[in-house]
């Protein structure tokens, strides 16, 4: 069985073909990063236009790489939320159209479920595990009892970790997306050069908060002259990144203690940061799994795979399933 996955929830147009053995036959992604970089972040209207422009081309390339024809597709799986509605709709309407013209079933998938299951595409991860989805839009820990059975146990109350990195990057002159360059500069800096407080959310000890750290680093940045800021760039990157990941590690320790699991997985854009992986691997008592880089950021292979598992458990969706900008995983605790 070949599953065509389509992912357009944010600014990447992605189409993949995965078979029922979990083998990735193709995983094509067209990034819009350069179009949004000049605006310092994603412009939703531009993102959805680019999806419309790119969707067919990315789809054809994916079929070509997988060396299959349209008629070899058995199931269409598409992200139905959470994400930017305009962007989601392009992918979903294209998928619905394909479902009708190919006469094949369709499955709408929660983007977060895709991320949570993505490590399973390349590794054997023991259930139950704790999934950390960490990106520019999300930072949350989700207990994965089995495929389809999830419980969100912790999330950020304000900025996402990747968003915090982008905002910090903007202040020190690093273009969006700032994470990769911050990671590179941090390697050359001293993570203890600046001390930032460990955030605490009074009402919920398992919750995370990144906006306070951002304010702290802003105070430091504004206190420096432009010459000093240039000199201190590496140290600031190392110290800020350390503070963010220490907060994630402290929260990870708490959730793993409260919900005994056999492993922790990390996925989402920030999971590509090797320092985060090292911080969690060194600091936790459970093994830490992360997908290959191409599967850690937004991609369609994870949507195809999650679609296959859902289809096996529930059968197809109706063509008029809804698209949601805010789709909680709680609605997925049914399988």
């Amino acid at each position: 069985m070949n599953i065509l996955g389509i992912e357009t929830s944010c600014d990447d147009t992605a189409v993949a073909v995965v078979n029922s053995d979990g083998e990735i036959l193709s995983n094509v992604l067209s990034s819009q990063t350069e179009f949004h970089a000049k605006y310092g972040g994603i412009v939703p209207e531009i993102a959805s236009r680019k999806h419309l422009e790119l969707i067919s081309h990315v789809c054809f390339e994916s079929l070509e790489k997988a060396q299959i024809k349209w008629s070899d597709i058995d199931l269409i799986s598409v992200t139905k939320g959470p994400g930017l509605v305009g962007s989601l709709l392009v992918g979903v309407e294209y998928a619905r159209g394909l479902s009708v013209v190919l006469k094949k079933p369709i499955k709408g998938i929660n983007h977060m479920e895709g991320h949570l299951l993505s490590p399973l595409l390349t590794q054997k991860v023991p259930f139950p595990y704790m999934g950390l989805v960490i990106s520019g839009g999300h930072t949350e820990f989700v207990l994965v009892e089995k495929s389809g059975k999830y419980l969100k146990v912790s999330s950020t109350v304000d900025d996402a970790c990747g968003e915090s990195l982008d905002k910090f990057g903007k202040q020190i002159g690093i273009l969006y997306p700032a994470g990769p360059l911050i990671e590179k500069l941090a390697i050359e800096g001293n993570s203890k050069a600046y001390q930032f407080p460990l955030p605490k959310v009074k009402k919920d000890p398992l919750a995370m908060s990144f906006s306070g750290l951002k304010t702290s680093v802003m105070h430091v940045i504004t206190s420096l002259s432009s010459e000093d800021l240039l000199k201190e760039k590496q140290n600031l990157c190392a110290s800020y990144q350390y503070a963010l990941f220490r907060h994630v590690l402290v929260t990870a320790k708490k959730v793993v203690l409260k919900y005994p699991v056999r492993a922790l997985t990390i996925s989402g854009g920030v999971s590509a940061n090797m320092n985060l992986y090292k911080t969690l691997s060194d600091g936790l008592s459970v093994p830490v799994f992360k997908p290959a880089k191409k599967l850690s950021t937004d991609n369609a292979a994870m949507i195809a795979y999650a679609g296959f598992l859902r289809f096996k458990a529930e059968g197809p969706d109706s063509l008029n399933f809804e698209v949601f900008s805010n789709l909680p995983l709680a609605s997925y605790n049914t399988v």
Partner: protein, 205 residues
Amino acid sequence: MFDILLQTVLASTEISLYENLKVIESIKKSSLQKSENTFVFDLYCLMQKQKIDIKDIGHVWVVNGPGYFTGIRTGLAISKTFVDVLQIPIRLINTFQWLETGISDCKDTIKIFIPSSAREGYLGFIKNSVLEETFLVLTKDVLKQKKIGFENALIYTNDKELAEQKNMTYIEPKFTLPSVFEEVETTRKVIPEYFRTEDQLFKKQ
């Protein structure tokens, strides 16, 4: 041979089936927002009801703007699949020319206003079925006609709420497929019309 029409760009939307260019069945919805998840489902139901197979479709007619941006993208995304998989040609229709089918026997220049968001839209001037000029204008300026250079002119619109305000006349298309269209056979050429430039978009934000 059967044709499909997708009009997803106006406040009220329609999905129709045609046989030899005559409408045989149509689903109309009064709200774009409420119908954006059901276009393909409605199309599928129409085809099932009429016992039409996908291979019996000759053309897909799609109204590609001006109109609501989400609707434009939706219609084009659906129609792309027909080109991509079945190589069924797409016929792109300008919204002004689609709405003009609802106005009969008018010898003067016809002025039609099409909202593209809550606060602005396009004003088009049509004479003898030829679209002469279009302007991006603020809705409030259309209502106060002095600001856009003419007074007490008859302006048509497909937006019922706007029509209820002064100086607007409500029109509905008559399901006659227009003689003016652009036929495309590759996805690359299926591009939306009447989108603001990136600079205009960013200024607005």
